[in-house]
Symmetry: C2
Subunit: 337 residues, 2 copies
């Protein structure tokens, strides 16, 4: 299917030789106590990272992830043509303050928790222009900055609903290059906004599942492939309920992903013993899992062919207070060894 | 200079035949009383647009701008491969709620007031991949949603400082295509974040001027051109003070733009009679001026060759409260008849 342009569908099969040349992850204490602990590059004991505010701590996560991925790939900031970055904070200050000293051409993205997939999609298409050589993608989230912005101040000690997810304190950075790196980006698909009317901001997995179903089913149709053609279909942070809903929604179209589905939000925490209810979430969830554990599985040949599908809930506290439902989106990247 | 790739500099000279095939603008009452009134496609008498909240009104601006540009270019939503959108609201809900029913593959951008330039830059590079044919760029801002989010509730009746700018209530949408449309996109330059330490959130023009100076001077150097090679160097919304500062900063590098510089924020209002102090601002300012007045000047052959340089102040109310300075960015698009 490579090289076939399908008009108006926006599954783009990549013609250039675009690959992931390296990844780096930086996470907080709780993530460092979870099942993926040994795969992260930097684990902080103290979620303040020594900074005065949670927002500055989140900016540090991005800065450290970028510096780490540059170090691991033997690149300097001047080798990077474009940096694509995003986060969940109002006006995306995690990115702009974290990266302001880098002196790398900067494009800010907003896709909520889908932002790592969005940045890989845009980065791949920028490389596909043959006008740039090296792109850096980075996103972050921080439990404490997210709680006070989206929910309640930590000091309030609010009870969490069973459908709630736990925002990951973490950042992941990935280098894409138009040269011989592995794994390769085989195709990308930009999602459409899907809103089935769910209004419970404590149940974002369910709000986002229809967007994931839409993107995955239309990709499989565009590519004329089935779930079993992949080692894994890896969603970003649908969590426990959202993942169940995704499987059920796809079954209605006779697509059974139950044998290959994994969710970064379910992988990063031990939900039972870490009290994270439905699993991890946030721009840093899919980013840190992909850039650590998943890339390592590719290195060890345990994964050879996956779909990475990160979802985002495009709401705000204001839209919730105004009685609105939750528009969601899912972007897809086909990654192959 | 066309077709020359300058390594690590990120001025990209476009090789494909990419042009602006149409634009549409939707604005509020005050903008409709300003000097550019006759160029806008839709002028609303009532800034609520009949919606229940300012945020919903802003979403409507984007929706109406998109529908209008599709109508003017005889395109349907299925003809658009990718929609690039952004705004100033927390979590960019102006875009996600305004465009959720469009069923067009959606990429959210955040570049504050630089977002229209950012979307044109990204859109041009996506087209340069030869994998997509039609891209729609749209951004918005609304005076009332911005005031209550960034400053004080309207009811408070706060006094404005002389350096303050007036957020434009408006949206602009532009269609880019890889075919014979005029004017053409000749080159794009992605800005770097620049922060010279200015902390006054009521003087954003001054915070953003250094970013504009950086992008313009390095573009002129990359392209080996001078300001007088252009009919206009059009900044987004530096306003009165920011524009002065930009000219002074560039003069230090022996670049004199005083003969060709225009600023969308200075064009859209009659600052003396409309009490807008330093001029217009917001994601909708540069977008609505470019997609109306400027495109019309190209049609009438009054403009043939311009640089469009929109700047963004990448701060948030939280970063201001935490005593931070204002990181800024400027993206550049070279547009030629």
């Amino acid at each position: 299917m490579e090289g076939v342009y399908i008009m108006g569908v926006a599954t783009v099969f990549i013609k250039s030789n675009i690959g992931i040349c390296g990844g780096a992850s930086v996470v907080g204490k709780k993530e460092g106590e979870g099942p993926l602990a040994k795969y992260f590059d930097i684990v902080h004991d103290d979620d303040t990272l020594g900074e005065k505010t949670w927002e500055k701590a989140e900016s540090r996560l991005q800065k450290d992830a970028v510096n780490k991925v540059l170090q691991k790939t033997n690149l300097s900031t001047t080798d990077v043509d474009i940096m694509l970055a995003g986060d969940l904070l109002n006006q995306c200050i995690g990115s702009s303050f974290g990266l302001r000293e880098m002196e790398i051409p900067f494009l800010g993205l907003y896709g909520a928790c889908s932002t790592m997939a969005e940045s890989l999609v845009v980065g791949s298409l920028l490389l596909e222009s043959n006008q740039v050589k090296t792109v850096l993608c980075v996103t972050s989230s921080h439990f404490c900055s997210a709680e006070r912005q989206f929910r309640t101040p930590l000091e309030y000690g609010g009870q969490r609903t069973p459908t709630a997810q736990w925002t990951v304190t973490g950042s992941g950075a990935i280098i894409l290059k138009d040269e011989n790196c592995s794994p390769k980006i085989k195709a990308v698909k930009i999602g459409k906004i899907v809103d089935l009317g769910i209004k419970d901001a404590n149940n974002m997995g369910s709000a986002m599942a229809p967007a994931a179903a839409d993107t995955i089913s239309s990709f499989l149709s565009d590519a004329n492939m089935t779930p079993n053609d992949f080692d894994a279909i890896l969603t970003g942070d649908l969590g426990k309920h959202g993942s169940e809903m995704l499987k059920q929604l796809l079954l209605k179209s006779n697509i059974d992903i139950s044998g290959v589905h994994k969710d970064c939000g379910m992988l990063i925490f031990d939900n039972e013993n870490q009290d994270t209810h439905c699993g991890g979430s946030g721009c840093g969830c899919a980013a840190s899992v992909l850039s650590s554990y998943i890339l390592e599985q590719f290195k060890q040949n345990k994964l050879k062919n996956i779909l990475f599908v990160a979802t985002g809930a495009l709401l705000s506290p204001t839209s919730v207070m105004q009685g609105e439902s939750i528009p969601s989106i899912a972007h897809l990247v086909w990654i192959q060894a």
